[in-house]
């Protein structure tokens, strides 16, 4: 029964990832619709969702392609939007770093906002998990998020404009992430980090290429680290 604990971690991850389907489904369909409207063929639209697998960056690229921006500008802007992924990668390395390289490669490919945020929340809540349990949990969370990203992109591309603009569906993404912030605020240092990040994000929202997010993220991390030291907190 060596697979026992890992298997139950996997299913726990599937359960915890399932609510994100409500976010990923509409978001992916929207990409499929907009890409088709921009003149992309279905295999090109699918190429985006499978090769890039990053919603915000894909929307950014699509927007710039529509504006006939130079190829290099499209690539650089979309990657700037994705810079936060390097921060996720660093943050999850203490948990998944001991895995063999190919498993780290798989985890890196599936490292998106939702899989990262949900997994980190769980690793902090249950710190006594083994590395293989943590990987199984990550893959569990990924299961109802990433394959549906492909499927719903396809549905959006095929169904096109027959999808009605629904009430407040745009707000599913903020709600899903907002729900995760409360449980993350475990110590005064966490609360300070979040508060500083929000203030900076609003103050620097005018920066191009989503750079305000990086300023806010780094500022919040520094505030949290400083608060931890000053207040003599144990993480």
């Amino acid at each position: 029964m060596a697979a026992g604990p890992a298997m139950s971690s996997y299913w726990r991850g599937v359960r915890d990832g399932l609510p994100f389907l409500a976010v990923v489904g509409p978001f992916a369909m929207l990409f499929g619709v907009l890409a088709t409207e921009a003149g992309l063929a279905i295999h090109e639209t699918m190429g985006f969702s499978i090769v890039v697998i990053a919603g915000a960056a894909q929307f950014t690229a699509l927007q710039l392609i529509n504006e006939n921006a130079p190829t290099l500008v499209v690539i650089a802007s979309a990657l700037a939007v994705n810079l936060r992924m390097a921060m996720y990668s660093a943050s999850i390395t203490p948990h998944l770093g001991p895995l063999p390289i190919w498993k780290r490669g798989i985890a890196a490919y599936f490292l998106v906002d939702q899989t990262y945020a949900q997994s980190i929340l769980d690793y902090e809540k249950h710190p006594d998990q083994t590395t293989s349990e943590k990987f199984a949990y990550f893959m569990g969370v990924m299961t109802p998020i990433c394959p549906p990203w492909y499927v719903f992109t396809y549905l959006g591309a095929v169904l096109g404009e027959s999808i009605p603009a629904s009430l407040g569906l745009d707000f599913a993404l903020p709600i899903a992430f907002l729900a995760m912030i409360g449980p993350m605020l475990r110590t005064p240092a966490h609360r300070i980090a979040a508060l500083v990040a929000v203030v900076l994000a609003l103050a620097f929202a005018w920066l191009p290429f989503n750079l305000g997010l990086l300023v806010a993220g780094l500022g919040g991390m520094m505030a949290g680290a400083r608060a931890e030291t000053r207040l003599g907190l144990t993480p």
């Binding site: 609510p19 190829t71 203490p94 707000f171 992430f177 993220g217 919040g220 949290g224």
Partner: protein, 107 residues
């Protein structure tokens, strides 16, 4: 069809770049020890980046062309409050979605 070639250049470059960003630490650092000061900062990555990611979306929703919207603000406040008080992600999502749909229907 140079348009198609260009598109695939974009897709592949974005794919490689995104994977590179995601693999940067996970792949290259692995289980080597990172300095304590760096780990101290990384502990606050999620709690800083996720709120920073959504704060502008809550205050200036694109669906209302960036105009602050009472319904969305109320739904956001309810979601956060329930998440903070109950520590239950699903309860928070459920309440937030309910508030959003209910107010949108009523108003």
């Amino acid at each position: 069809m140079s348009g198609t070639t260009e598109l695939w250049v974009i897709i592949i470059a974005m794919g490689l770049g995104s994977f590179g960003l995601r693999f940067a630490f996970l792949g290259l650092v692995g289980d080597r020890a990172m300095p304590e000061w760096l780990l101290r900062h990384l502990r606050y990555t999620a709690v800083a980046v996720i709120p920073a990611l959504i704060a502008p979306l809550v205050v200036w929703p694109s669906a209302t062309d960036g105009e602050p919207d009472p319904v969305r603000l109320a739904a956001a406040a309810a979601t956060f409050a329930v998440g903070y008080l109950t520590k239950n992600v699903f309860a928070a999502m459920g309440v937030g979605a309910t508030v959003l749909v209910t107010l949108n229907t009523l108003l």
